[in-house]
């Protein structure tokens, strides 16, 4: 018997956790205060039903993974990993950069934070031409700033550049 941990068992566990959390939350909803309209399913009943279905079907996914309906490819030679970073690291680094960007976008400003993020992502996916990276990041940032300001009349966060307009 083979167990498909990666595709079935491990991904289903968060859904079971989510269903458990949802079930708990439905028990603390103040349905009585909101009022129960003429019988039938109330405001907590519907999400409760969804939680039970998610939990049940997730257990089924795990059961399918344990039954081993798809055998692991243990007998096949592995492809040589691509040079440089492991592929799974790149999205993680990109998300880390995006999280930092979202925290700093308002205090630092869109026009400063965005080219840095874009340059980092371009470097991450393999571009090593710094002139092209810099030019592309700056041009894209200013183009989108111009579209939002002149096209939609929305001023994006000024951040540090706000002292210039004060």
């Amino acid at each position: 018997m083979t167990i498909d941990w990666r595709n079935d068992v491990l991904p289903a566990l968060p859904f079971i956790g989510f269903a458990g959390w949802l079930l708990y939350e439905t028990t603390v909803l103040d349905v009585e205060m909101a009022g129960h309209v003429g019988g039938g399913m109330d405001a907590a009943g519907y999400p409760r039903a969804l939680a039970l279905l998610i939990a049940g079907l997730s257990v089924l996914v795990i059961a399918q993974g344990i039954r081993g309906r798809r055998p692991l490819s243990a007998g096949k030679p592995l492809d040589a990993p691509p040079p440089g970073l492991h592929p799974g690291i790149r999205p993680a680094l990109a998300m880390a950069a995006i999280v930092v960007y979202t925290f700093i976008m308002i205090p630092v400003g869109f026009l400063i934070a965005t080219p840095v993020l874009l340059a980092f992502v371009m470097f991450l996916v393999g571009d090593r031409n710094w002139v092209r990276i810099g030019a592309t990041a700056v041009l894209l940032t200013f183009a989108t700033w111009a579209i939002s300001f002149f096209g939609f009349n929305i001023l994006l966060p000024e951040g540090w550049l706000g002292v210039l307009t004060d």
Partner: protein, 513 residues
């Protein structure tokens, strides 16, 4: 039928300058997105959604329609020139378009694909205009039970008939339904699952959810496995003599387009299936089927006409019933909701002028696809040479700006990234993001009508459902949609086991019967 006549009479006056400009812009953008491998109309429509906030309803929907139609066609250019489908729906086109290019007939192949796309899109526009109002009129008889059953059918079909495991598709769809419960309860106003945040009182931001689960997840997948720019030295022109295919192969065009429209109306089946089915039928009906796969023009015509015709077919259930037929149409439905328009039968009576504008935009878009497609081929071939990191950066900044512009709330960006990570994890593990997004879009409709049904039936489910034959029929279809993949898998597995048993052992003599 009187509603159809009314719409037809108003079509001519429904396309103003703003709508025409947005339609052309959408077509150009859609073709560009279709040409670039890994992009596709789903991403294009998702990126355009936030910008529709600032545009009136008809021009904004025209923009989305243009991207949808152009995106479905654009993949054929890449399929012909590079031998890889620019979009999944161009996979069948590649079978004969690329061999034609290898024989030095690239211009002929691209021209044929463009003409076939024009025919298929225009055909489906006419079908949309004729069928949707009639279907909407019928749907006016629906009560809460029928509406709930229909929403359930749309969700179940996407979850079970789409790619991947049925059970995983259902889990994804249920997850989408659950996310839609965040915020005020639609019936009693009770606040649910908002984590104490006032910004979530109205629920999860539709734009953040759709952009995150489609665009950001795609970005993360592209970042994980980056590709280089595509290189091509082909010089492609227009071969006007290929236009003769329109009347010399009229039957082939019509058959493929009809298949596209029919398949498009069925939720979850989609343009890939319609293009392969039309290709197979074209081969079956051909006098020389052995030429298919080696550069046969009928193969290009069948697949392109069918995949383009699917666009109109998929719009029929969305506009008439409020049930999206595929992920692109689900996002377009989000675009209508943003404009305060609720897709479904009542739209045909409360916002006829908007609906007429949508129909006219679809028809005009189909016609404009021909000149715009042909004129833009050399330009888009140059775009293929753009370095991939620059393209990725462009999509990233558009995603950020599109989401932030909606309300200028940072919490919308956090939702965007959260659903992006969730979408990425789902795609890596075989859970359908299409089912999750459709669950989110259909969630409010499904919940309100289910709860109204439970109020009306007063505990007597069996008696109530038996008194609603339309709802009962739809629920039977739901059950069939759930059971069909299981039966199909069992039959396939039995066939494999029989083939393994029938194969003689090495060295043994085959038995005589």
């Amino acid at each position: 039928m009187s509603e159809t006549l009314h719409i037809l009479l108003d079509l001519g006056s429904s396309v103003d300058w703003a709508t025409a400009v947005m339609l052309v812009f959408g077509l150009v953008l859609g073709i560009l997105i279709g040409v670039l491998p890994g992009m596709g109309p789903v991403l294009g429509v998702a990126l355009a959604i936030p910008f529709t906030f600032y545009i009136p309803p008809v021009p904004s929907i025209a923009l989305l329609i243009g991207i949808y139609q152009g995106g479905n066609y654009g993949g054929a250019i890449t399929a012909t020139v590079l031998g890889i489908p620019g979009t999944p729906m161009a996979a069948a086109t590649l079978l004969d378009a690329h061999p034609m290019a290898l024989k030095g007939e690239a211009s002929e192949a691209v021209t044929l694909a463009t003409v076939a796309s024009f025919f298929g899109t225009s055909f489906s526009a006419i079908a949309l205009i004729l069928v949707a109002p009639t279907l909407a009129e019928f749907a006016l008889r629906f009560g809460p039970a029928e509406t709930f059953s229909l929403a359930l059918l749309g969700l179940t079909a996407i979850a079970s008939l789409g790619e991947g495991s049925t059970v995983k598709g259902l889990v994804a769809g249920l997850f989408g339904l659950t996310v839609a419960t965040i915020g005020n309860d639609p019936i009693t106003g009770l606040m649910r699952f908002n984590f104490g945040l006032t910004e979530l009182q109205g629920g999860i931001n539709l734009v953040s959810m759709l952009m995150g689960i489609f665009a950001v997840s795609e970005l993360l997948i592209q970042i994980e496995r980056p590709v280089r720019a595509w290189q091509t030295s082909e010089r492609i022109g227009v071969k006007f003599q290929m236009f003769r295919a329109l009347w010399r192969r009229f039957l082939g065009h019509t058959r493929a387009s009809a298949i596209g429209v029919a398949i498009g109306t069925i939720p979850a089946v989609g343009a890939v299936a319609s293009s392969f089915l039309a290709y197979k039928l074209a081969k079956d009906f051909s006098n020389h089927p052995e030429t298919f796969g080696k550069g046969e023009p009928d193969g290009v015509i069948a697949s392109e006409a069918a995949n383009s015709a699917t666009t109109g077919g998929a719009m029929i259930p969305m506009l008439a019933l409020g049930i999206p037929g595929d992920p692109v149409v689900a996002i377009m439905m989000g675009g209508l909701l943003i404009q305060g328009l609720t897709p479904g039968p009542t739209l045909f009576f409360t916002n006829v002028e908007v609906l007429t504008g949508i129909f006219a935009a679809f028809l005009v878009g189909g016609v404009l696809l021909l000149p715009i497609g042909l004129a833009s081929i050399p330009i888009f071939l140059r775009v293929l040479r753009t370095p991939f990191p620059a393209l990725l950066a462009g999509v990233l900044v558009l995603t950020v700006i599109g989401t932030f512009l909606v309300q200028q709330y940072i919490v919308d960006l956090w939702q965007l990234w959260l659903f992006g990570v969730i979408g990425y994890a789902m795609r890596k593990t075989g859970f359908s993001v299409a089912a999750a997004s459709i669950g989110f879009v259909l969630g409010p409709v499904l919940e309100v009508n289910l709860r109204r049904t439970t109020i009306i039936m007063s505990g007597d489910f069996t008696g109530y459902i038996l008194s609603r034959p339309i709802a009962l029929t739809i629920l039977i279809l739901v059950a069939l949609a759930l059971v069909f993949p299981l039966v199909q898998t069992a039959i396939l597995n039995r066939g494999k086991r029989s083939a393994a048993v029938a194969k003689p052992l090495p060295g043994s003599r085959p038995s005589r019967k």
